[in-house]
């Protein structure tokens, strides 16, 4: 009871400043729009955005489902492929030396523009190009990190295993894979938000106008700024959902290691 009260207290202590800051910020925003009589196309008041959000909620939810599904499918596919490939890389040193620098470099460039090329390969209403794009972004993040976890093992550990006459398979199972698990969680923590962002952005390169990203641009283009902002709010919430997924992942990792 006491312990629970204590942790609730520290939780409040962490969350309260953020909530107060958020409320003040929104209050100031609302006040600034009214006081300076800002035109809606310049800046929309939070109250107007909220109104639109409530009014259009079913539509926003539908669009969020489309973008969210793309992000999720891509995240899962990219993770599976990335983990599989990292095993291949860790097995063949020369491949690792060629592909890892390339993958690291690719993580630093906006490869989601490739979705424009992918769009040409599929029908105009297909979600596949966007999912491939998300998977590709996730793939490289997971690949680089997990391959690192599989190869960067302590030399003392490897020497110990060799002194036990352990086979390569035994070293993989008992040293390399356990060593790579935290790297996998780290990569998911990076990849989950990247997946949502890629899913949104890839909607700007054509295809059906059904996701959050395309709705934001079409509403703004039609001067429906408040509605556009309402979709932005939806995008923020979806992003938060994926972010909390990675936070949970991190927590599981810590708990698994009892740290």
């Amino acid at each position: 009871m006491n312990k629970f009260g204590g942790s609730l207290g520290t939780w409040l202590g962490k969350v309260l400043p953020a909530v107060v800051f958020g409320a003040l910020f929104l209050g100031f925003w609302e006040w600034a729009v009214k006081f300076f009589e800002l035109k809606p196309y310049f800046l929309t008041a939070p109250s107007a955005i909220w109104e639109q959000f409530v009014k259009n909620f079913p539509l926003i939810r539908g669009a969020a489902t489309v973008s969210g599904t793309n992000a999720l499918v891509g995240l899962v596919a990219g993770t599976v492929l990335g983990v599989a490939m990292s095993f291949v890389l860790s097995r063949f040193k020369f491949l690792n030396q060629i592909i890892t620098p390339l993958a690291v470099a690719l993580n630093a460039v906006p490869i989601f523009v490739l979705v424009a090329v992918l769009n040409n390969m599929y029908s105009i209403t297909s979600e596949v190009p966007r999912r491939i794009m998300v998977a590709l972004v996730v793939y490289f993040i997971v690949l680089v990190n997990v391959a690192r976890g599989l190869t960067q093992v302590s030399s003392t550990h490897v020497e110990l295993m060799r002194s036990y006459a352990a086979s390569d398979v035994a070293i993989l199972r008992k040293v390399r894979i356990p060593n790579a698990i935290p790297f996998l969680f780290v990569s998911l923590k990076i990849a989950a938000p990247a997946a949502v962002i890629t899913a949104f952005v890839s909607e700007y390169f054509g295809g059906s106008q059904n996701g959050l990203g395309s709705r934001i641009s079409s509403n703004i283009a039609n001067s429906k700024n408040a509605a556009g902002w309402a979709y932005v709010l939806g995008a923020c919430l979806l992003g938060l959902l994926f972010y909390s997924f990675s936070v949970v992942m991190e927590g599981l990792n810590r708990k698994g290691r009892a740290r």
């Binding site: 302590s154 550990h157 020497e159 110990l160 002194s163 036990y164 008992k174």
Partner: protein, 266 residues
């Protein structure tokens, strides 16, 4: 049958390349069953290389290494030795007990047998209540004791140690030396021990092997006449100081020769 027999062993890294290093040249050393032998010498004189040759983690460039009358390869495959390093090298994701069980797992032991042996080893290193802890919950000295327990879990006749107490503070270090002697006396294990502390080498060993660098070779072997029963009091006895002086002279003679200072006795 000697525990370790090293005959005319040389080891060069990057052989035939411009960056060739002659880590060891013409080394001969025989270690008897139950003996405690220390290798001492300045950094880079090939102590770790020699230990890794015995462990068959490296192959000699020339010469022969045999362990328990077998080739070094066969001895490794038979897990005839246990090994401990400066880093305890425990696996963070395994409990202390699971760490000790690892060599037994790889030997294919059944779970109840492994567990019984791990508990026996925890008793031996006097940490019976820490089986379910994780390594990072233990102090450096405790981790090193677990590493020793793991190295001895399969009851190997030979223990190879590379500066195992190098990262510990002086107090813990002396305590661990006493513990190691107690454990070796209880198990009858032969030990080859690398250190660069002269008192440590003398306190622990029946023989101290002094090595010198470039190329790595054995320059002197000091017999330590301290008998089997060593206590804290041993550190205050004359034979202890005599052996320390002998080892120091071995190291210094080589240093003087190396920098060309003749017999200068500073």
């Amino acid at each position: 049958m000697s525990a370790v027999n090293i005959r005319n062993v040389s080891k060069a890294f990057n052989e035939g390349k411009p960056n060739q290093v002659d880590a060891l040249r013409d080394v001969n050393l025989e270690v008897q069953q139950g003996e405690f032998v220390s290798l001492i010498g300045p950094s880079g004189c090939g102590k770790s290389t020699l230990l890794r040759l015995i462990a068959n983690l490296l192959e000699p460039s020339s010469g022969e290494v045999s362990v328990n009358g077998k080739s070094a390869v066969q001895a490794r495959l038979d897990q005839d030795y246990g090994m401990a390093f400066q880093q305890a090298g425990l696996f963070d994701w395994r409990t202390v007990r699971k760490n000790i069980e690892l060599p037994l797992e790889l030997k294919g032991w059944e779970k109840p047998d492994r567990r019984a042996r791990a508990d026996e080893m925890l008793q031996l290193v006097q940490l019976p209540e820490f089986g379910d802890h994780y390594p990072w919950q233990l102090s450096g000295g405790m981790q090193q004791r677990i590493a020793i327990a793991r190295a001895l879990a399969a009851h190997p006749p030979l223990l190879l140690m590379d500066e195992p107490f190098g990262a510990l503070d002086e107090m813990t270090r002396e305590y661990m030396q006493g513990e190691l002697l107690r454990i070796c006396a209880a198990t009858g294990t032969t030990v080859v021990f690398v250190t660069h502390s002269i008192p440590e080498a003398v306190y622990l060993s029946n023989r101290v092997v002094v090595m010198s660098p470039r190329p790595g070779r054995i320059t002197k072997v000091v017999d330590v006449a301290l008998g089997a029963d060593r206590t804290e009091d041993t550190r205050n006895r004359t034979p202890f100081f005599e052996a320390i002086t002998a080892v120091r002279e071995g190291l210094r003679g080589m240093h003087a020769a190396h920098v060309g200072m003749g017999n200068d006795d500073r």
